[in-house]
């Protein structure tokens, strides 16, 4: 494989990752200053974001074409810094999910969000370490993904994706430090399942 060919193919793959993810990436407003990111997690208008993004205020969601929807808070888990929202746009495509239980240190990852208000901004790096943090209520020791991707305010609630564009986790502010931290997708998935079951809603 010639180097020119390889680099062109790499560029194409990265552009494809960004395209796949940006389809289901949203902006989450809270009616005040600042905004976070969110991911359409499941068909039916279910959106995952960070708890701290919607904790104070009435959430609204802008999808990629710019249209804005009011959002209901279906469930929230402050200790995981997660919130499940629902908007009345059931056709909106859900993100491709990757099973974070198979993730490994060194894997190439991309964070996509709106750092400092820049829409759909992509940063790249690798998974730096797999760690656990102790949460205060209910969830006990929770696995987290540490990565060396550059994160800034506005990345909160946005996805960390793998080289195939599958969502490995949700970027969060749950712990400080100089490393990007994400809640793995399998933890998010069980939070979503539990939240929808508790509401008596059907899985769809």
């Amino acid at each position: 494989m010639s180097e020119r060919f390889l680099s062109a193919m790499l560029d194409d793959s990265m552009a494809e990752v960004a395209r796949r993810v940006q389809r289901s990436l949203v902006v989450v407003h809270n009616g005040r200053r600042g905004a976070g990111a969110g991911v359409v997690w499941r068909a039916g208008g279910y959106i995952i974001t960070n708890y701290h993004v919607i904790a104070h205020g009435k959430p609204a969601v802008s999808i990629q074409d710019g249209s804005e929807y009011p959002a209901r808070v279906v469930a929230q888990a402050p200790d995981l810094d997660l919130a499940l929202l629902q908007i009345d746009s059931p056709q909106h495509p859900a993100a491709l999910l990757a099973d974070s239980r198979g993730m490994q240190v060194g894997q190439i990852v991309f964070a996509i969000g709106h750092p400092w208000g820049q829409r759909g901004y992509v940063t790249a790096g690798v998974i730096s370490s797999l760690d656990t943090v102790q949460t205060r209520n209910g969830h006990g020791a929770v696995p987290i993904i540490r990565s060396d991707v550059l994160l800034a305010p506005g990345n909160s609630g946005g996805p960390l994706v793998n080289a195939a564009g599958g969502v490995l986790g949700i970027n969060t502010m749950i712990v400080g430090g100089d490393q990007g931290v994400a809640i793995p997708s399998h933890v998010v998935e069980s939070f979503v399942n539990q939240s929808i079951e508790e509401r008596g809603g059907a899985r769809n």
């Binding site: 240190v105 060194g106 690798v126 730096s128 100089d178």
Partner: protein, 302 residues
């Protein structure tokens, strides 16, 4: 694009494999009060690490990838290059593989560390620059060092900077340049480690001269049989020094020591390091416009 043909996925898989391979040879080094640092298996029972992370000579413990910890003793150390070598009681480590060719600017690299029993840690970057030499104090000179933009997380000192195939391109340290992280190239680190195994320290020699670089005219270069545009003019020879004992004189121009060319003070320091120390060594000079070889027994700097 299918996953099989996706170069981004292939690259990601290669990075995971590189972390697995080099991570097996990356160990935890616990010899200071604050968080442990990292080390690299130079041999199955010899661990290369950064000298500055060893705050004590005794009760040194090395953490293996399986989470177990074993005692280690100090086999040698060289504060000048911030390298130290630890010895395990038995051959417990997976030996690291150094890169066959020197690192190149722009090359993809991973910085690895194992500062905790939780597992290997990694950050991605490129070789940003290859610089040197660096004067590190007490007559020591690091011939060359690498810079990278891979994030040096706490406890990464002593750990490896590896290429995409998991081969060691350098040993990371934050102890040589104040506030900055750099890597000692693997070739240099491995050769210094070889000296540490034998001698326990790096011998740094001295002549006892003051010198300054001067141009060598073309005619003299021809007489020397060397294409060398400059040498070191001796402007002072210390009393009772190795240089005086060997017969070096003010006005001599040193052009080579033990066959290695000397064109500036950094090359002089480099040529006086290692096996020449304490031995009668040929010093090629220009004296009165003519080449001459003077035998000097190189002194050891204590």
């Amino acid at each position: 694009m299918s996953n099989e043909n996706n170069p981004l996925i292939a690259l990601s898989d290669a990075m995971v494999a590189a972390v697995e391979k080099a991570g097996a040879a990356t160990l935890m080094v616990n010899a200071r009060r604050r968080m442990p640092a990292s080390g690299v298996a130079y041999a199955p029972d010899l661990i290369l690490t950064a000298d500055h992370v060893l705050e004590r000579d005794e009760d040194i413990r090395v953490g293996l990838p399986d989470g177990s910890q074993v005692p280690a003793t100090l086999a040698g150390r060289d504060p000048g290059s911030d390298l130290a070598l630890l010895r395990l009681e038995s051959a417990l480590a997976a030996q690291a593989e150094p890169i066959p060719q020197p690192a190149r600017i722009g090359q993809l690299v991973l910085a690895l560390g194992r500062p905790s029993p939780q597992g290997i840690q990694a950050s991605l970057g490129v070789v940003s620059a290859i610089n040197g030499p660096l004067r590190t104090g007490r007559g020591s000179l690091l011939e060359q060092y690498l810079r990278t933009d891979a994030i040096p997380y706490p406890g990464f000192s002593g750990g490896p900077l590896v290429d995409a195939a998991g081969r060691v391109a350098g040993i990371n340290t934050s102890g040589l340049a104040r506030g900055a992280s750099l890597a000692i190239p693997a070739g240099l680190a491995w050769s210094l480690a070889g000296i540490l195994v034998q001698h326990g320290h790096i011998q740094r020699g001295f002549l006892g001269v003051r010198s300054q670089p001067v141009a060598i005219p073309a005619a003299q270069q021809q007489a020397l049989g060397r294409e060398q545009a400059s040498g070191l003019l001796l402007v002072g020879v210390e009393t009772d020094s190795p240089a005086e004992a060997g017969g070096l004189l003010i006005g001599d121009i040193i052009v080579a020591i033990a066959g290695n060319r000397v064109t500036d003070p950094d090359e002089l320091a480099a040529s006086l390091t290692g096996s020449v120390v304490g031995k009668p060594t040929p010093v090629e000079v220009v004296r009165g416009g003519k080449p001459a070889t003077i035998t000097v027994t190189i002194g050891e700097r204590k």
